[in-house]
Symmetry: C2
Subunit: 411 residues, 2 copies
């Protein structure tokens, strides 16, 4: 018997309709979490899920669950999904792909009248990107009990607006409790956001785990003064110090290991006026490595370098952890389920480690979890030019469908 | 006969009342140009000037002139004044001191029934600070014909709001033409914004000129991408490049000459998200030196360093001039008028060059111009902690009064 496949055109149509929400002139998306654009994306997903016969519930962290009943409906559900929020200059597929591929699986099961023993839920997690509220994956962290709900709701953006207040504002402060509940398995489809699958011509990646990540927040305090009258030798310029720190972070990451990464993304000066020496500079540091020991050592050397530069220049510096995530290995049973599904469909597949963090990383704490990667053009992501082809989208959703059929059939 | 003096308490009261407008919790002022706070400051000045019997006019660049008639009222007027706008984290005295010292001179002349042969005008110039709209001193530049009025009105802030539209919004798009007119002399009182007078215990500085300044605007274009999946060796990170540029600018300024200055004040990254390699970085460069040849050479070496760093890292860079101001020497007759006035009042005085730009620099293009400096605590300015004493304020205003009595009496 030919294996069941999703409808490629319908999936692509869903992706393109969703991409219209928060569309940017350069062809990307700006659906920063809990903005009006994020609300519109959630509304569209909820409407589509209800059209597909799902029961929709929202929890206190704004996570949405679209549930398709199983024939043994009181058994532990299988979850799939991802997120609909994006970076401020993000792409059409990071996150949305996993949510809409999950929805397309539900539609396909409906089309063919397939009853799965276990119920299947398509999840949409709040604030995966971590761009507006830190750290990332706050919705799934709250769901698995990694971060207390109260802390998640109290997370504030740079303007001091709290996540909980924004959830209420857009009407997604749901009535369901946000806490761990029995889940049989979690499987998330996502674009790779890196160049490996494309380079090797493999349409499917069976993700074995997520590399470790440490994020720091740094503030350098100087002394603001007039740029035209303050002699160089008496200045305490926090930007001159922060510039050296950025140079050091880049150098240390390159020196640590070929696959170690170091990035300064957020970087803000105060007061930021052309003829004023700044008062302070705040910036973020994002360090990653598949090897936990290397990551730990890199974070230590970055801290030491920051302290050394500040002390050399007589400036005060504050360094805080935003998040410390060790590497996570996914469940071997999920990884091999994905491999077998790809094989049954005739798609070439390779095992791959995820460079980026994902909600699957959170879910791995409470159930067997895994991910399916599909290639994206040039490995480019967190960029408005992020792109995939309809065929690539369909292949990943086909593998997701077959994998979910296996997982929902497990007793 | 004892020389006429201003009322120290009334001057200090005016300064403190004005400082309440846009007052910041840290004791400074935020009256960014053409904001509601700037409008409130203008309104207060206009009300006080009318109470002092002045005829108030506003020109098309929003410059305000409070005119006290002379006994020979058709002779060319003598102008004094300064500005009421501040840096975003500015102090109480930078600008406001010169305007209110001028107003206090008018009040003192009224108190004593002194008729000056020449009319006396207290001017309030638009956008001196150059923090919101570049370059600085746009109001006085338009008045002397250095910058076309249309360009001034079309200057846009970082949000794209135009100076002309903001003038209209706050009701200071005046009905008087903004163009050069005959002025007998211009004399501006200001805090030094540097440490020299305080260090030498001199209450008065007779300003001989303004050092040269070149301001550049730089944009580095990179390629934004995911911080967790983009290998270090394929990155095009504009912040890493800009950080090296900041280091180079600081180094080159220190190496050029002991009195050369180099500052990066404005510095903004896009998109500025914690887990994204930035797309571009924009920053300003402020270079100053009393010696024009050194300044020119410094600007050239800064441009070369910026280009070299960008090219090394394979990034595009755009460098534009914001302003190029050669050093300006004030009129010897004005400088010696100030010295004689200080001497007649028993205040120690020294000649001094201005590190900062001022509206007097613009006025020097159309009439004999000069400035009176008073010391400020620690030489600190463009800072909320900027401070002077009531006695220091009074001394400068006394010298301004005596100097203006001389200048308005000249035939």
């Amino acid at each position: 018997m030919e294996p069941l496949r999703i409808d490629p055109e319908r999936l692509w149509h869903s992706l393109m309709e969703m991409a219209r929400i928060g569309a940017t002139p350069a062809g990307g998306c700006n659906r920063l979490t809990l903005t009006d654009a994020d609300k519109a994306a959630r509304d569209l997903f909820v409407a589509w899920a209800r059209e597909a016969g799902c029961a929709v519930s929202v929890d206190a962290a704004g996570n949405i669950f679209a549930r398709r009943a199983g024939s043994a409906d009181d058994s532990e559900p299988v979850l799939t999904g991802s997120h609909l929020d994006t970076q401020p200059t993000g792409g059409k597929f990071d996150g949305a792909y996993g949510v809409l591929a999950g929805l397309e699986v539900v539609r396909t099961l409906n089309d063919h009248g397939v009853a799965t023993p276990r119920p299947l839920e398509v999840a949409m997690w709040t604030n995966e990107e971590g761009s507006r509220f830190q750290p990332s994956c706050l919705g799934s962290r709250a769901f698995v009990g990694d971060t207390p709900l109260a802390d998640v709701l109290a997370a504030a953006d740079t303007r001091g607006i709290m996540l909980g207040d924004e959830l209420e504002r857009i009407g997604y402060d749901g009535d369901q409790p946000c806490r761990p509940r029995p889940v049989h398995a979690y499987l998330e489809a996502h674009i790779e956001q890196g160049p490996i699958l494309e380079r090797e011509g493999k349409p499917i990646g069976a993700v074995t785990g997520v590399q470790g990540k440490q994020a720091l927040s740094v503030r350098v305090d100087g002394m603001n003064a007039h740029a035209g009258t303050t002699p160089m030798e008496v200045r305490r310029d926090p930007l001159v110090a922060a510039a050296r720190m950025v140079t050091e972070i880049d150098r240390l990451a390159r020196a640590a290991r070929p696959d170690a990464l170091g990035t300064v993304g957020m970087f803000a000066v105060e007061p930021g006026s052309i003829n004023v020496i700044n008062q302070n500079v705040a910036f973020s540091v994002d360090l990653r490595c598949p090897d936990d020991a290397t990551l730990l050592a890199l974070a230590e050397s970055v801290r030491a370098a920051i302290t050394a530069v500040a002390s050399e220049q007589g400036l005060a510096v504050h360094v805080e952890d935003i998040s410390v995530n060790g590497a996570v290995a996914f469940d071997e049973r999920i990884v091999s389920t994905v491999e077998r599904a790809a094989e049954s469909l005739g798609y070439a597949c390779r095992r791959i480690i995820s460079g980026a963090g994902h909600d699957a990383r959170s879910l791995a704490a409470i159930c067997p979890a895994g991910m399916i990667f599909i290639p994206c053009d040039g490995g480019l992501s967190h960029n408005e030019a992020e792109n995939i082809s309809p065929e690539q989208a369909a292949a990943g959703a086909d593998v997701l469908l077959q994998s979910l059929l296996s997982l929902t059939a497990q007793t």
